[in-house]
Subunit: 280 residues, 2 copies
C-alpha cells in the first residue's frame, strides 16, 4: 500500500496534500487530503480525522471549514477522507443520499454494496495505520470529528473504539440513524432488513448498549433544515447519554444552519477541545 | 433601487446575507453578498469591499477565504460583489477570461460590452451608495481588497479615488494588465484598440501618471502559475511605485500558489491592516 501524492498546496505555513492509494478495505483507489501543520516539518504531530457529510469529497471541508488556521496554531494534522469508495466499478444510486458520497461509514454486508463499501474499516483502521506508517503522525494519537453523516461517522468510530481516539466531537451529526429517513434508507441498503444489525452503527444505540467515551461535544444549529426534518435527533443521543451517565455537551446554536458557515463559526473551539485531549 | 434579500446565514455571531437589486450602472439585476458582523446589530460599521477574480461569483470568497472570522473580531462588514453583469441578455464569450465572470472592473466602451459592463461605476460608486443608504454601514468609511483580476480592481478603485478608500490591499493582483495576455485580450474587447484608453484602468500606468494612495499592501505567492506566466507583473507596479515615491509593501510568499488556500493564509493580516485604517 503506497501513497501517491496528487497535489501539495502551501497553507498557513504547512502543506495541504492530496494523496491516492489502493485501499485493501474498499478494494479500489481512494483519495484523501491531509493538512500537515508547520510543526510536522520537524516532529511527529497528533491527528484529527474529519469525516464529511452527504455528497462531499475530501475537498469540501479543506476548502470551506476554515480549520487549517487552527490546526497550524495547535500543531495538529487534519485528515480529510473521502465519504465513500468511488469509480465506475463501484455500486451507486441515483439518489444523493445513497451510494457514492453517502457511505454512512459502515461496513456493508448486502449486495451490491458489500464489495467496496467497507468505510468503517477504512477510516477507523486502514487509513490511520497507513498514515502513521508513512507520514509524520504520532502513532495512535488521534481524535475524530465530522459533520452530519460524518458527525455520525465520528461518533460511531469513537464509541466503537474508546481507546482508539483521544476525543470526539461533531457538528449537526446524525445521532440516531435507525430512526431517521436517511439512516433507515441507507442501513436497509447496506446492512439489510434485520434492524438488530443496524444498532452497531447507531451512536444512540451504542450508548444504550454500554459504549462509553470520556466526553462528547456536539454543536447543533437551531435553523438547520435537517434538524427540523428529524434526520439528526440529537435529543435522542442526549437522553441516552444522560440515562447512562455518559458525559455529553450538546450546544444548541441559535439561528445557525447546516452549512459550512456554521462549521466555520465553531471549528476553532472544536480544534481547541481536541488539542487539549491530544496533548494531555 | 431596492434591495431584495435572497438568503441570510448566521456566521460568527453576525449574518452573511445575499441580495439582488436592479443596477442602474449595469442595466440588469445584480447579486452580491455582505457579511454584517455582530457589531452591526447595534451600530454602523466600516466596510471592506472584496473584488474576486476570474470565473468567481459572490460566493467564492465568502465560502473559501476564511475572512468572516476576522471581520467579526474587528467589527467590519465585508462586501462581496459579483465579478460581472450576468444574464441571458448580457454579452458573453466562450473563453473563461472574457465576458461574464471576467469584467476586469472597467466601464466598457465597445460593443457588445458597453451596455452592461459598467463594473467600475458599479463597484466604486453605485454599490457603496446603495449599501450606505440601506444597511448599517458608516457613510464613506470603506476600504478595498481583492484577488487576481479583483486585486487589479481593488488597486484601480483606490488609485482612481484616493479619498474614497481608507486603504487598499491585494492578493496576487494583475498589476499591469496592459502588458499581460489576460489584460490585453479584455482591454481590447472592452475598451477598443486605442491603448491610450487602457491606462485609466492599469494600476502601474496610474501610478506612473501621478495617482497616489497612502499605502499599498500586496501578497504574491512564488508558486503561482499565473505569476510565472507573467499575467500579474507585481514587479512592474513595485518599480513604478519606487520611482514615484509611492509607498508599497510587496511580500513574496515562498511556495504559495494562486488559490484560496493562499488567501486564507494571509487574509487575517490584510483585515487587520484595513481595520487600522478604517478605525483611525
Amino acid at each position: 500500500m503506497s501513497l501517491q501524492i496528487i497535489a501539495s498546496i502551501r497553507e498557513f505555513g504547512g502543506y495541504l496534500n492530496r494523496y491516492s492509494h489502493d485501499s485493501a478495505s474498499c478494494h479500489c483507489e481512494m483519495i484523501f487530503s491531509i493538512y500537515l501543520p508547520p510543526q510536522a516539518q520537524n516532529e511527529k504531530v497528533p491527528a484529527l480525522y474529519w469525516l464529511s457529510g452527504l455528497t462531499c469529497t475530501d475537498d469540501n471541508a479543506r476548502s470551506k471549514a476554515g480549520a487549517q488556521r487552527y490546526a497550524a496554531e495547535h500543531g495538529i494534522a487534519l485528515i480529510f477522507p473521502d465519504t465513500s469508495p468511488r469509480g465506475e466499478d463501484v455500486a451507486d444510486a441515483e439518489r444523493y443520499d445513497l451510494g457514492q458520497g453517502a457511505s454512512f461509514y459502515v461496513n456493508a454486508t448486502q449486495p451490491p454494496w458489500a464489495g467496496h463499501y467497507q468505510m468503517y474499516d477504512y477510516v477507523s483502521r486502514e487509513l490511520p495505520a497507513l498514515l502513521e506508517e508513512n507520514l509524520p503522525l504520532l502513532a495512535g494519537v488521534k481524535s475524530v470529528s465530522g459533520h452530519s453523516m460524518g458527525g455520525h461517522g465520528a461518533l460511531i468510530c469513537a464509541l466503537k473504539n474508546p481507546s482508539g481516539y483521544r476525543s470526539v466531537s461533531a457538528f449537526a451529526p446524525i445521532c440516531n440513524p435507525v430512526n431517521g429517513e436517511w439512516g433507515k434508507t441507507c442501513f436497509t441498503a447496506y446492512l439489510g432488513d434485520d434492524r438488530t444489525t443496524w444498532n452497531a452503527y447507531d451512536a444512540t444505540a451504542l450508548v444504550e448498549a454500554g459504549a462509553r467515551v470520556s466526553d462528547i461535544l456536539i454543536d447543533q444549529g437551531t435553523a438547520d433544515e435537517f434538524y427540523d426534518e428529524k434526520q439528526l435527533l440529537p435529543e435522542s443521543l442526549k437522553a441516552a447519554c444522560d440515562k447512562a451517565g455518559q458525559a455529553i455537551t450538546l450546544r444548541m446554536q441559535e439561528d445557525y444552519d447546516h452549512s459550512y458557515h456554521f462549521i466555520a463559526s465553531f471549528i476553532g473551539e472544536h480544534i481547541a477541545y481536541h488539542a487539549r485531549a491530544l496533548k494531555s
